[in-house]
Symmetry: C2
Subunit: 260 residues, 2 copies
């Protein structure tokens, strides 16, 4: 099942993709919901981030090659972690499929994409075991952890580097049926493939992350867990169209623009 959030003249609503259409629902996918009579063509729908999460968790340092390459960029030694660690992203930065990324004009650049698998939490969870962890996952979507590398280096936190408005595209929808072991992540810039890797070749899988997290924190319905990024991006330029495809989920497409 594919869940979207979309916006039209009647406001924002959750919806279910049925063929070429979106059927609007009342309520939320995490609780009680009901299909309404309202149906619009998917191609004409303005898609929003498929959920506005209470908390955005991200498993940093979860792909070997990304750790090695980002350590090299920073001029430090690469350390492969023994346990997952989690950072946060801020909801102001979320945008949906096809919305524009807007880079502030005082950015010193470079600007990089980071393609990520995103697990969407479906139920309240504290102290769950690895065996129970998957039952807390509602489905999966795609995230782009866009990063301004100059501010990532100069600032003490990532508030500007990773959390500026429009810097967190997420979507296009939540897919509830995904075989993670079969998915590949493909990144395209202006139609050219610039990354192609096995999505789930992670150091810490979803079960491990959820078990680790819920030892200390309660997860809530709608929370999202971004699973980290592989490799290293090319520098983005104004007008570049960035597509992240995770096979079995969909394609998240956003255009990079510069603030005028």
């Amino acid at each position: 099942m594919r869940w979207v959030r979309f916006e039209d003249k009647d406001g924002a609503s959750f919806g279910i993709v049925e063929g070429d259409d979106v059927v609007a629902v009342s309520g939320t996918p995490f609780g009680v919901y009901e299909k309404t009579g309202r149906k619009i063509p998917l191609s004409g729908a303005t898609l929003l981030p498929p959920v506005m999460p209470p908390t955005i968790y991200c498993a940093g340092h979860n792909y070997r090659d990304h750790i090695v390459k980002s350590a090299k960029r920073k001029g430090i030694e690469a350390v492969i972690p023994d346990e997952p660690e989690f950072g946060y992203r801020a909801v102001n930065a979320l945008i949906g499929h096809e919305a524009d990324v807007v880079v502030p004009k005082d950015s010193a650049r470079p600007i990089h994409y980071e393609p990520e698998l995103v697990a969407v939490i479906g139920k309240k969870a504290k102290r769950v075991t690895k065996a129970e962890a998957k039952s807390c996952v509602f489905g999966y979507t795609i995230g782009n952890d866009i990063s301004e590398r100059a501010w990532q280096k100069s600032d003490r936190t990532n508030w500007r580097a990773k959390n500026m408005d429009t810097f967190k595209p997420m979507g296009p929808w939540i897919e509830t049926e995904v075989d993670l072991d079969k998915t590949r992540t493909l990144v395209r810039v202006n139609g050219e493939t610039v990354m192609d890797f096995q999505t789930y070749d992670v150091l810490f899988d979803v079960e491990t992350c959820i078990a680790s997290l819920t030892r200390y924190v309660t997860l809530y319905p709608g929370d999202v867990l971004w699973m980290g990024s592989e490799g290293e991006a090319i520098n983005m330029k104004p007008g570049d169209v960035n597509e992240i495809e995770i096979t079995g989920i969909g394609v998240l497409r956003n255009t990079f623009t510069w603030e005028s």
Copy 2:
């Protein structure tokens, strides 16, 4: 005006403090609301965090003495910043006035309180000037940025050190009329005063923080801006009762317990 969120058999609700009572309202303080006929004694109300924020911003390194003392603790040189920088805290960690802090049993300690003034944002704001910034503030509450210093040192992020469940007491209410230049912050442990400082002796005031933030991010109604902590705490023990008073706002009281 004093705004609370409280919980009783009818669920969670916003309310307005009137004398010794809380009058329940429908709606939210940030939009349309209406007093209901329901009134309960304030002394009998279970107070929740006065708002569940979309985003919790914190101006780190905002008091000179705290910067000097925490640098000394970490064995690094103190750097007084030229501009504010912002971190994040997570909503799972919020608890209200009188709720217990629960320290995980594998904590290596020490556990410290950090008393903070909290500005509650009342309206959507992007690119506001310092002159306009105060008009975005709905009111003020009190936060306790409880910190586990061992994990703050060992972990790459503050996900365990500062964002574990129950580690962010906030309350008791939002006070809309505060003369910040007259307030003092008093911290008590088991009734004994252990800190007493001028609340607004900050490096970066609320106007400066909001102008800086909104250059890059949009603030939304209900977002909160924690203004940083002064000094250094004493180590907390099981059963310790921690009170943070900001004169003109109120007293936030929480008891520290250890997970059994």
